[in-house]
Symmetry: C2
Subunit: 226 residues, 2 copies
DNA sequence: TAGATTGTTAATCGATTAACAATC
DNA sequence: TAGATTGTTAATCGATTAACAATC
């Protein structure tokens, strides 16, 4: 039982699905490996290989059927499941994410926000903001499995512990503290500071394109989404 | 002139630097490849290989000197440069990022925000919020090279075009539209929706740890920060 | 000396791409 | 048939890890 559906593949599948939905909305029926590869920035051969691995067939000259692919990807990726999350840390980033429109198309719902302090509920926010003390009970009662962590750096470790004890199985961590995945709790870290530092470095390294190359090893280079 | 300092390596170096600064603040003087590997989640051999590649030597029994490593990483990563960015799209996410505290430690400054609409400057925000029309002139005058894009999905393409025309060299894209790197403008996409979808999928796949494995190929698996 | 850690080579692992036969 | 695209194999590429000699 090898590692079918590895990390990179799953991300590609999620991106395929998004593109397919957009194409469907535009009234398209067929799509070629070519198109999908361009759209997500990989070689067409990889698109074909992905679908081949999942036993999703196309037509030798007609490409792939969008409706069929879309359905199958929903099956594989588990579209139907109700997906509720909580946000721990209702500061600027937390409330911004709580109001993120993209969640609607993704079938997510932010069930509640939590904070140590009493926080004014910002206008337009529909979910309750509760005290951190109530987290364990809320998570258990509402079967919450996934959380977003957006507290200040010095509270990250403590909240992490609290969330694991409450039985959270997946955590999207926006704090600068790099948390570690354990068998019971998968962590994905998004470190905005490092992202910006990295982008700056790549820009400097990339240098001025044709004329005026930088001194040392400043070749241009492909680089894509993370 | 091969690809020294590739994408993964640079990210590791940025993370090493952050850890080293923290250790320095705690009064440490030496660190072992062991420690750094644990801290950022890679094998100690890779830490040693990284430093070896950059000709940063340690002591066969005393590990690495933190001050020295830190200095050298600053040299390699270009710490000193003044780093100003602008944010395009001062909605919830844009303003949240504008107030992000982590920037201070990273030597960044958000020079200005831009928006199509007249936006009330939120309390506590020190930078000006200008009209998108003023972007090209502002970017040219202040030598801005890097921008953050946080507009609604339907404005992403247009703003992307505008930013490239204005001469922006690097763009951190928070919109759900996947933008493509060109020779003149490096794009890093952060798609929060996909991140959450991905986390949900990994959680379901990870299943219940020991008892009650899921049906098909639901093995547990290492997974780390993106 | 004994023990521990670096520095470096070789092996491994895995993902992507190139290429092409099959076929609609 | 000619042309285009899939499906699949083999080649490539690159990153990580294992292992161990060197050495402090």
């Amino acid at each position: 039982m090898k590692n079918r559906l590895n990390k990179e593949l799953v991300i590609r599948l999620l991106k395929y699905r998004r593109i397919l939905n957009q194409l469907k909305n535009l009234g398209f029926e067929k799509v070629f490996s070519n198109n999908l590869g361009d759209a997500i920035g990989v070689a067409p051969a990889l698109v074909r290989k992905d679908f081949s691995l999942l036993v999703l067939g196309g037509n030798k000259r007609g490409g792939y059927n969008i409706d069929y692919l879309s359905e199958q990807l929903n099956r594989i990726l588990g579209k139907t499941r109700e997906q509720k999350i909580v946000i721990v840390g209702m500061g600027k980033i937390g409330t911004a994410i709580a109001q993120y429109k993209g969640f609607l198309q993704g079938d997510f719902e932010v069930a509640a926000g939590f904070d140590v302090r009493a926080v004014d509920v910002p206008p337009g926010l529909t979910m309750p903001i509760l005290s951190l003390e109530d987290l364990p009970e809320y998570v258990a009662k509402n079967h919450i499995e996934v959380a977003i962590l957006s507290v200040p750096e010095d509270q990250a470790a403590e909240c992490h512990r609290l969330l694991k004890e409450a039985g959270i199985r997946g955590l999207l961590n926006f704090t600068p503290v790099e948390l570690k995945t354990t068998p019971n709790c998968i962590i994905h870290n998004i470190n905005i500071g490092v992202e910006i530092e990295n982008l700056f470095f790549q820009v400097i390294k990339n240098g001025l394109p044709l004329h005026l190359e930088l001194a040392d090893g400043a070749g241009s280079e492909e680089d894509d989404s993370e």
